[in-house]
């Protein structure tokens, strides 16, 4: 069972994806970026699913912090946002972002499939 850290401030979406991903994985859901780094250091998630607009610390701030440390820089990140940053894929990859899902168009099945794909790909590394 893989460990997923879901950081989503919208409670009804957070609860939905905690349920959907929780069928196969161990999901920790945080509603803001405030406790995210301490949670990441304690739990060492296999993947981080990250919204961009968050209370206290934005997803972009968290990405900056993640890449600042060797161990957390290796954790794959899936962006899941209605406001995806307007930057290149290469720039996102440098921040450990392996997939970016647009909340306004993506379907739940595709979200789950993408995250499972990321977990499988990194399990084989």
């Amino acid at each position: 069972m893989s460990k997923i850290l879901l950081i989503e401030d919208e409670p009804w979406l957070g609860e939905l994806y905690a349920q959907l991903l929780g069928v196969e994985h161990d999901v920790t859901w945080l509603r803001d970026g405030y406790d995210a780094m301490s949670s990441i250091e304690q739990q060492r998630p296999d993947v981080i699913v990250l919204d961009i607009l968050l209370p206290w610390a934005s997803g972009v701030q968290l990405l900056h912090e993640l890449v600042s440390y060797d161990d957390t820089a290796r954790i794959p990140v899936v962006l899941f946002s209605a406001a995806l940053p307007d930057v290149s894929a290469a720039a996102l990859r440098a921040y450990g972002v392996v997939a970016a899902l647009d909340k306004t168009t993506v379907k739940p099945q595709h979200v789950v499939k993408t995250i499972n794909g990321v977990l499988n790909a990194h399990a084989n590394i």
Partner: protein
């Protein structure tokens, strides 16, 4: 009608408002889309999960429609040619608070949140438009419940100081960071913009509330409380019916 809207509004300001509004309406619409898709493909395992999702779809749709209605009203108020007819009269603000509290309960119940009312022993009367006041208070409570964790409490207070009646809504959410407070105060009253210090989707409802408060000669404000945020509206006390 569309051409009338474009020609009567300042185009830059209008487009900025439109983009900001569209951005903020994404969130409740995305919730509807994701929950509906999960229902459609049988991703939700239990009947209870499905029932809760259906209820949340309905509430998200209602929230979206209220935002659109509020945006339309605030636009009509700001446009002289549309001549929005304000119905200013003495209003029992205590009664309006109780009505709005009743309407917001389904939004609170779905996350096991509760609302406490501290409305005072005597009804307070203000000068205003009842429909607009209703919309302002609903937006303030909706904003509070969106930022308050499950199983916590939002409170609503009425306080009178001299000729001003203040209705405050306190939440138990992450609050507004001191460094962002002045920025938030500046933004209240300008174009609707996402207020990212709390989360996406919080700016439009507050913008609408501020526009409606302005139209009635009131004022929307923000402050801090020990744990959470305080949003309030100041309204002019009405003496006219206090003898009734």
């Amino acid at each position: 009608m569309a051409s009338t809207l474009i020609t009567t509004a300042d185009s830059d300001s209008y487009l900025q408002s439109l983009v900001a509004a569209a951005h903020e309406l994404k969130t409740p619409l995305a919730i509807i889309a994701h929950l509906a898709s999960a229902l459609e493909d049988d991703s939700l395992a239990t009947p209870q999960q499905r029932q809760v999702s259906l209820q949340r779809i309905q509430l998200s749709a209602e929230r979206t429609l209220r935002l659109i209605q509020g945006l339309t009203t605030s636009y009509r108020i700001g446009d002289d040619q549309l001549r929005f007819a304000l119905n200013l009269q003495p209003i029992n603000v205590t009664q309006v608070c109780e009505e709005v509290a009743h309407e917001i309960l389904p939004f609170a119940n779905v996350q096991s949140q509760s609302l406490e009312l501290y409305l005072g022993q005597r009804s307070q009367l203000v000068v205003g438009d009842k429909e607009l006041l209703h919309s302002i208070l609903f937006n303030l409570l909706d904003n509070a419940f969106r930022h308050t964790p499950p199983e916590t409490t939002v409170s609503m207070h009425i306080r009178r100081r001299s000729e001003v009646v203040r209705v405050c809504v306190h939440d138990s959410g992450p609050g507004v960071q001191p460094s962002d407070m002045s920025r938030l105060k500046q933004r209240l009253g300008r174009q609707p913009q996402p207020i990212v210090t709390r989360s996406s989707g919080s700016g439009l409802g507050l913008y609408i509330a501020q526009q409606l408060a302005d139209a009635m000669g009131g004022r929307l404000g923000v402050g801090t409380v020990k744990s959470g945020a305080d949003f309030h509206v100041d309204l002019l006390h009405s003496r006219q019916l206090s003898l009734v």
